[in-house]
Symmetry: C2
């Protein structure tokens, strides 16, 4: 097969890239391939779908805010339903955690990010299940758990349904005449020489190297430009070419709870119009919670940093002990309503972590554009990143994001990178 642009990976990043490439180049044949059977079934499906504008790096926040604005437009002004719920984010913080984060919250406030704080009295009134103080609980003290001192709420935050978002992006792409091939895996990028001599072994070290498409499970697909948007699996394509994906894969486990004893927590009132618990980050417990009101469940993600190794898996699974023998110990101290409740479902995803500055990368080499490294923030930046990919393809200096704000394409490249490290 021959096409103008081959996009590898139908997660939100690949879907958005394909859509914007086709939108801005209607005459070009844009082909999207995906090893799985439907859009957004890889790491996209394993994500909590959270979005937040609580980001300190200007470029990073811009990418997120424009995507959030677009999501709101899609939800309220089109026939698509991405199940966007602006339930807000809530950070429950102990003294030392808050001490570290206070200057960051202040910076966010100065940057115009909507925030609201709650003292422990207010938190207890709104979340009766929450223990903010371990007075007398020697075990909690021995564990080194800190009482919760403050709650900080991010207002322009919430979540979408990642499957609905994927199907929406797919529909937009297909509506423009884009082509999608599922169950089609990219096995290898085809690397050739800038000026081909038709000799075996090209490209030689004295030639310019060019990506000319990919060998796939359905045969060779030749393309003038290949976009690699395969998330954590991008390294499998890029490593053999000697192109660094700039990210490392790290697993993140998610557990789903559905229990009468958790309903009061799930339907926590007072934080948002939906009357549900915000996406709640409990750093001291190493977990976060998300209300999934449509199914009456609470999702619990375990935020492992050091202690969770890097390493790519084909089909990552959640280990029950990550909850039961690990996060659980601290969780029940803060939220005793979880005591004895077992998850009804679990899964694991993989984040593509850019440890250097935690900001996504759009970088090219002749014939190739790579987009990745969203560091677990892919959902909330996907629309913007697709636009950056399309601008990179067109050789434009700037990409216009949804809502009209602009970002310099080279700012999130590797070669001419110009971003503040994300410190939040």
């Amino acid at each position: 097969m021959i096409c103008d642009v081959l996009v590898i990976g139908a997660g939100v990043m690949g879907l958005s890239s394909a859509y914007h490439l086709k939108r801005l180049n209607p005459g070009k044949r844009v082909v999207l391939i995906e090893r799985l059977g439907a859009p957004g079934q890889g790491s996209t499906a394993k994500s909590a779908g959270g979005y937040r504008n609580l980001l300190l790096s200007g470029t990073n926040r811009l990418l997120a805010e424009a995507t959030i604005e677009w999501l709101r437009h899609i939800q309220t002004e089109t026939e698509h339903d991405v199940k966007m719920h602006n339930t807000s984010y809530l950070y429950l913080l102990g003294e030392s955690q808050y001490g570290r984060r206070k200057p960051l919250f202040e910076e966010l406030g100065k940057a115009g990010v909507g925030l609201k704080t709650y003292d422990t009295g207010e938190l207890k009134a709104l979340i009766p299940d929450l223990v903010t103080d371990f007075g007398g609980d020697e075990e909690a003290e021995m564990m080194g758990l800190e009482p919760i001192e403050i709650g900080v709420q991010g207002l322009n935050c919430g979540s979408v349904d990642t499957d609905s978002l994927s199907r929406c992006l797919e529909a937009l792409f297909l509506g423009l005449g884009g082509e999608v091939h599922y169950n089609t895996s990219a096995d290898r990028l085809i690397l050739g020489a800038e000026k081909e001599l038709d000799l075996p072994g090209e490209p030689f070290v004295w030639q310019g190297a060019v990506v000319k498409g990919a060998e796939t499970s359905r045969g060779e697909i030749r393309a003038e430009t290949t976009v690699v948007a395969a998330g954590v699996w991008s390294e499998r394509l890029l490593d053999p070419v000697g192109f660094d994906s700039m990210t490392r894969p790290k697993k993140r486990c998610m557990f789903v709870f559905k229990d009468p004893g958790l309903e009061r927590l799930l339907y926590t009132k007072g934080f948002n119009e939906e009357g549900v618990l915000p996406v709640t980050q409990m750093s001291d417990a190493g977990v976060y919670l998300k209300a999934e009101a449509s199914e009456g469940s609470l999702w619990l993600g375990v935020t492992e940093d050091l202690g969770r190794g890097y390493g790519l898996e084909d089909d990552p699974q959640a280990e029950m002990e990550t909850y039961a023998d690990n996060a659980y110990h601290a969780l029940v101290k803060y939220l005793p309503c979880f005591e004895g409740v077992r998850p009804v479902n679990s899964w694991a995803g993989q984040r593509a972590i850019n440890r250097f500055d935690k900001i996504p990368v759009v970088e090219g080499m002749p014939g190739l554009i790579y987009v990745g490294g969203a560091t677990g923030n892919g959902i909330m930046k996907c629309e913007s990143l697709g636009r950056v990919v399309a601008a990179h393809y067109a050789g434009e200096e700037e990409a216009e994001l949804y809502g009209g704000r602009r970002v310099r394409v080279s700012d999130i490249s590797v070669k001419d990178r110009r971003v503040e490290k994300e410190r939040f």
Copy 2:
């Protein structure tokens, strides 16, 4: 075994770190372990041993210049012989290569880096074997090879013998009472909790994680601080802990030539006091040459970038085709004296490439200091980096380098990194 500081890896980076840690902490037990049987037998031994101060990033050049100054001190003012030969570096550049690099050379000149340029007439006079112009050679034209337009020489550049350097650093460390254990591999870092509860599964997600030493082939070694200086192999130790080494391994093949027909090239006069060919970078041919006068040979390194995959190997080997079916085609056009000459020896090393900014990393987490990412420049920065490791260990803001200049420790950390990307 219990020690104060465990250093893993007796390449130049680990040796230098161990030496400076012991020098500044004479009362501490500093133990250096190495899986191989002698110092500097890993990637250090596979390196060309080149050094150069042709670096544009201020921090990067400072690290190199101080190390070069120290090497000169060792060579001229001590009983150690690291076989330092200030043969200079010579860049042979075609029009487009020079066009790209000219502003960089100008910046180097402004920064006080000693440079000298040669036009093609001068180059031909000094290197009679060199073809600067392919007039009439249709094959060279078809191959897209550019005639050489200019030679740029870096004066404070040359090479050392990496084995001698390793033995020198080892002797310095042992002379202070340091301990070295060879044939001792580190299999796994021991990760524990900041406040241990003696429960299985620590550290839990709600605990602070601390490195407490390593499991080695000679049993557990507990240490207050573990320094990982295992080069490209560092990722094997750091990945399971979830700590990013920030580098990717890339193989680099070296070929050795010893032939009467190459002697005129080897003993090229006029560039240095030794009367040998400078370390000569031929970017258009994808190779560099180094005169090894002590053995009457020329070393040829193949500079593969894209086209050479990333990937860690235990015992990398040079593939003959990398020379014979690849670099050779272009090399003989520029240097016909190589025609028909086969290498008498070859090997391969691995560079730990930090693709983001090409500058080394010294980063810590509780109980751990990691040094790496020198991107093929480890020899020429090792002495400085050992000092940065020791300053990091002491919690000092700045490290004093050889000669008295200072570098801010956090500048080459990941967390608070403040370096210009290396553009040369």
